[in-house]
Symmetry: C2
Subunit: 411 residues, 2 copies
């Protein structure tokens, strides 16, 4: 094979201001370039235990089972749904964007009886509406998305835990896009399971998915416990329920691998674990609340700037995530042409949309390492330049001034 066309990895310089992935914090990439360890090296198992402790603080939980699932954010989602849902279980999914549909689809693949309630894209649910549906459906699990980047909306979850407890429902949320940029209180809000991804507010690369499981969720999962034939001994017992549809996502096995028995399952993705550990260290060094406030500051500055440019925003701003903004593509402007000029001539990526919003909405992120003033100002400046070039009339400098004014008023 002629390898002359396959040069060393050397990606072009990009400022990633879409809905994720965003630029990884350089400290995370440096951590990931460290040499590997054996799976059962005391230094490795120590790192695994530290990751559990660090992510307990990030998730705000005392849950023992706070660990990594090796795969992208949807690996974390799927591990929880596949491990918890028994065929025929009723689940309720409030759908307010693409990732609610994803939860439905995964639950259907688990052979659940899936019930949904829906609001138009750009809105969220009141707790009353969800409680009514719980009373009607009587689900075993409530599956929610906290922040759905497809619509930029943040579903309020504070009151749902008490409702779930009252009706004996297990309460899960997908916080892939929201955690560390918006408040999430796993224990305070009575969540039984949460999963996230690295490539949004956590500031790392996609590839491993932190999750946390409450004791009630652990008990539900242990009912389906299974030990691999190749490594089982007489001391091992399987659970009472039918085994789940996956070995890779069998959280009973994954807990046994992260727990004191260290029962071999997959070979932990060590580089990804190094990265996840550094992401948590960065977040906790800054302080979780400080980091959330930073996401709000720069997210609001981006919003003010976009409004100052005379552009309309998408969705109910009262329920917008701190870290991503939907911007209506103005009439007469080709949204893809703008994205292309931003990328090719300024090295800045902003996001397109999915489903009903395709061609109508850009999504601009300010998250993780890129929730910074310079990222906001560069993006607004370049966007004004591109729109002016394409004939969209804005007041010169107004967007930037609005952002400056916001920073001056907030600091």
């Amino acid at each position: 094979m002629d390898l002359s066309n396959y040069s060393p990895i050397n990606p072009p310089q990009r400022l990633l201001m879409g809905p994720g992935p965003i630029n990884a914090d350089p400290r995370v990439l440096r951590a990931m370039s460290s040499q590997l360890l054996g799976q059962y090296d005391p230094a490795m198992t120590q790192y695994m235990n530290e990751v559990m402790a660090l992510y307990r603080a990030v998730f705000r939980t005392e849950n023992r089972w706070t660990l990594l699932v090796d795969g992208t954010s949807r690996a974390g989602i799927e591990s929880i749904l596949l491990s918890a849902i028994r065929p025929g279980d009723k689940v309720l999914v409030p759908v307010f964007g693409r990732f609610g549909h994803l939860l439905c689809e995964i639950a259907r693949r688990c052979r659940a009886e899936v019930h949904t309630i829906e609001v138009p894209w750009g809105e969220v649910f009141t707790p009353d509406r969800i409680e009514d549906a719980i009373k009607r459906v009587k689900p075993r699990l409530l599956l929610t998305v906290q922040g759905d980047t497809s619509t930029t909306m943040l579903q309020p979850l504070e009151e749902l835990g008490a409702i779930c407890r009252q009706y004996g429902v297990l309460f899960y949320t997908d916080a892939t896009a929201s955690l560390a940029g918006n408040v999430l209180e796993t224990d305070g809000w009575g969540l039984d399971a949460v999963s996230v991804g690295m490539q949004k507010c956590l500031g790392g690369p996609s590839g491993t998915s932190p999750i946390t499981l409450s004791p009630a969720m652990e008990a539900a999962i242990r009912q389906r416990k299974c030990v691999e034939a190749g490594i089982r001994t007489a001391a091992h017992q399987d659970g009472e329920d039918e085994m789940i549809y996956s070995n890779y996502f069998d959280l009973g096995m994954i807990m046994d691998y992260w727990g004191p028995e260290r029962l071999n399952h997959h070979t932990e993705a060590t580089s990804a674990l190094y990265g996840a550990r550094e992401c948590a260290r960065l977040i906790l060094e800054e302080g979780l609340d400080n980091g959330i406030a930073r996401h709000k500051l720069h997210g609001d500055a981006m919003l003010k700037g976009i409004q100052g440019m005379g552009l309309e925003t998408f969705g109910d701003l009262k329920h917008k995530m701190n870290n991503v903004l939907g911007v209506m593509i103005p009439a007469g402007i080709d949204g893809e042409q703008v994205r292309q000029l931003m990328l090719e001539d300024f090295g800045i990526e902003i996001g397109t949309s999915f489903g009903p919003l395709v061609g109508k909405v850009w999504r601009i992120g300010t998250m993780g390492y890129n929730a910074r003033k310079d990222c906001v100002m560069l993006t607004l400046s370049a966007l004004e330049s591109v729109l002016t070039h394409l004939g969209f009339r804005t007041m010169q400098g107004a967007a930037l001034q609005a952002a400056w004014d916001h920073y001056r008023g907030s600091c």
Copy 2:
């Protein structure tokens, strides 16, 4: 949270001479420390296409669908089994070690009707034996392991493709531990699907799994095609068969993500992809056959050295993998004490065993970046020192001399 106990990642220096993971090639770690790109950045999709082309050469195949599954090696295995096996399908698994049991277990979770044939650990199957079982069982799929690190054996696969073709059987092999250290001819041997992991002979970290699918396997998988509700349009049609038990491992969707439509699925684990690309570049720069010869040279040198030390080996040496050796723990020696002294006082890791071999066999690897003369010599020297220290009598220097003799005779 007090972070003073959570210092930056700084793993101790280790020479990983177990059955994998092994030390990653430093070039791979450097590639992985590169900054991220957006999912649909032309530079990113170009890298994805290059990964497909490079792994076609590594797998020795023309298969269009040669791509990465984001997860560890068993993610690759499971994606193929879950996507291909329909509930009730008959599968045949020749079991000669732990990873044959794993294939059975995953197939059972897919609700297959699983048939097995077995040989004692340390042996492999003749093609006749497998053909007889195919005639009897009439499976839809034959699921094999090429190299099973639990026993160090390499199952010959050359003749099985023709047999599978004759009886209309789809032919899969798990080459996690063997590819690039032992001959594998995907097209030449008529394989319909192969999966591997990074942390063995490929010289990278665990975390992404290259796979390849023949046109026949693609057709079987397309029957179960499904498009996510959140991103589907009127132009999309689902397949005829029931949808698979997983969204994450739905290879129909993963092909649509890697194919020209670039239909969004997961967010590609970019750092892992950078690493996988560099691993393939390293292998093809050396030349795949040269790399396999290197694995044989150093694997044989390790074998000669171990024999020179007066230690017995495990299993049928005619069918040993080039890259890993089973060593009988001598009577009166505590295998774990030896492993601990090797690790703590020499920084060298050798492997323990699973199942029936626990406490009886060490497994010593010479693979990927660590298939090198210095790694072999250091390991033999340290092992001789530890065994001498513990009172096991060897002829001083004989192990090293045997290895030197082997190198002199082979170069």
